[in-house]
């Protein structure tokens, strides 16, 4: 007010709002700028290019006998590949009519009914359900059972009972030949 030169008295109010404007714009630019500068730091935590350059996984189906399952790794996650028996397929089709927590037809979950392919990670909190190996508990619906918090999956990998909200997800997969599939 006092020492600065040449401010005509008439522009006092102008001067005030001019300073306010400068203050607000500087603060805004500073805030937005900081926010933008932080973004690359956060984004660096997202999956990196080499992680994303995912690997599709090819699986040879010949050694899997009817009624057997194998677990393969795709994107670091376990994928269940099951050669279903006729009885299991029939059961899965029959259960289409049941009241399901996450309704999905068995036909929509398989490319060929004999081969059920799905990510073997419980949709509750990420444990690996049991039921792949001989002698492991398969739950009340003859499919898979997650020991962590007690989710039961049926012969189509659909959630039937317990805390998991959705069915075991089916990854994109295709038959390259009659005995080979490509996941991813």
């Amino acid at each position: 007010m006092s020492d600065t030169a040449n401010t005509p008295p008439s522009s006092k109010i102008d001067e005030q709002s001019r300073r306010d404007f400068l203050l607000v714009t500087t603060a805004t630019v500073g805030t937005v700028g900081t926010a933008l500068a932080v973004w690359p730091l956060i984004d660096s935590l997202n999956p990196a290019a080499d992680t994303l350059a995912l690997a599709t996984t090819e699986v040879d189906l010949t050694p899997i006998e009817e009624g057997q399952s194998i677990t393969v790794v795709w994107q670091g996650k376990p994928v269940f590949v099951r050669h279903r028996t006729g009885a299991e397929i029939d059961q899965a089709k029959k259960d289409d009519a049941e009241v399901l927590p996450d309704p999905e037809k068995d036909a929509d979950r398989t490319v060929r009914p004999k081969w059920l392919v799905m990510v073997g990670v419980c949709t509750h909190l990420g444990c690996i359900p049991l039921g792949q190996k001989e002698g492991e508990p398969k739950g009340e619906y003859g499919g898979w059972f997650c020991p962590c918090h007690g989710s039961h999956y049926d012969t189509s990998g659909r959630i039937r009972k317990g805390p998991a909200p959705t069915n075991l997800p089916v990854p994109k997969h295709e038959f390259l030949t009659d005995t080979t599939i490509k996941i991813g």
């Binding site: 992680t51 790794v73 670091g76 990420g126 020991p147 918090h149």
Partner: protein, 434 residues
Amino acid sequence: MSEQENQSKFMQNGVVKWIEHRMPIFSFIDHSVGSGYPTPRNLSYWWNFGSLAGFALVILIATGVVLAMHYTPHTDHAFNSIERIMRDVNGGWLIRYIHMNMASFFFMVVFIHIFRGMYYGSYKYPRELLWIIGVLILLAMMATAFMGYVLPWGQMSYWGATVITNLFSAVPVFGEEVVQLLWGGFIVDNATLNRFFSLHYLMPFVILGLVVVHIWALHTFGSNNPTGIDVKGPQDTIPFHPYFTIKDLYGMGVFLLIFCFFVFFAPNYFGHPDNYIMADPLTTPPHIVPEWYFLPFYAILRAFTPEFILYLPISWLMSAKLAGVIAMFAAVILLALLPWLDTSRVRSAKYRPLYRWFFWIFVLDWLILGLCGAKPAEGYWILIGQAATAYYFIHLLLILPLLGLIERPSKTPDSITASVTGEQAGSAQPQAAE
């Protein structure tokens, strides 16, 4: 008197004077934890746990810095580098066992510290902010401990990390993106281990900063005391040094005796044997159990099943999973609101005949929750866990606010001194004018 003479003799030293003139650090220390900090004369041993917590933090940082010099944060090497610390590094077993067990003792001490605050109403005006900072410290401790437990890359490390990070998949719409951002991939993997190591090193210093602020807020109005009555004059206080420095040191001796028992005779008592099996992303252990200090909160998380009575009114709004996650965080965050949830104007439970009972029921409820968290979610444990969860929130949201309105507190003494001497109004009152 001689203490003050010593103090002034110290302050007359040339070097001390030179520094003090440029940066008054010695008087700052004296006012923080020295003879210049007037402390209520009636503090009991329950007031030891604050300084014990600070001590635990210092030990954790000191051992942690050394451990980091021998540890390798890589999925291929982490487990083996821990075994190398245990077998080959000079005294490595001792440093690691101290670090592991001190983490448990840190929580134990802090839980007692929190319950002490709840019993004596330490969170009430004017110490609300002090209390809120304390809750922030608890949250920071939980994050730090969780990430530290992942570093050995054992089975419990891996699956604990998987289950807890998966909690964030309950976030509506962006759940999957959030979890991938946390992992830096599609599962808990090397990227996850690396960032957890970085943050596990950072967070203790954040806690240290919060502790400094916590003590600053404490010293603005000074410590609460067992009567919950304000200090009314110098006759109610004694200097922190030497009276409480010696009391804290005595408590620390007892603490260290118990601590050393565990370090030397039961070092893995608080751990889980499965964590001595290297992480295997393709095999989930049959029972995933978090560290003991998370158990009550884990029980609250698991209580929310589609059949839980507390969930039914909000079942149209969100999944049971999301409700469980929100409830678990709310269980901690609600503590920050205690100054407003507790409507009674009397601080100490000593003069609150009803609250005293409800306080102990709440402690019991918390212990039951811990027990439920340790048991597999089956049979009647589910029902007990749900009942205890319901009570936890009923206590905080219903009982506490109502109790302050219903309860008739007993007569509080006129001053801290009067509570000891039994004198009534008049005798101790005149000095209160100061």
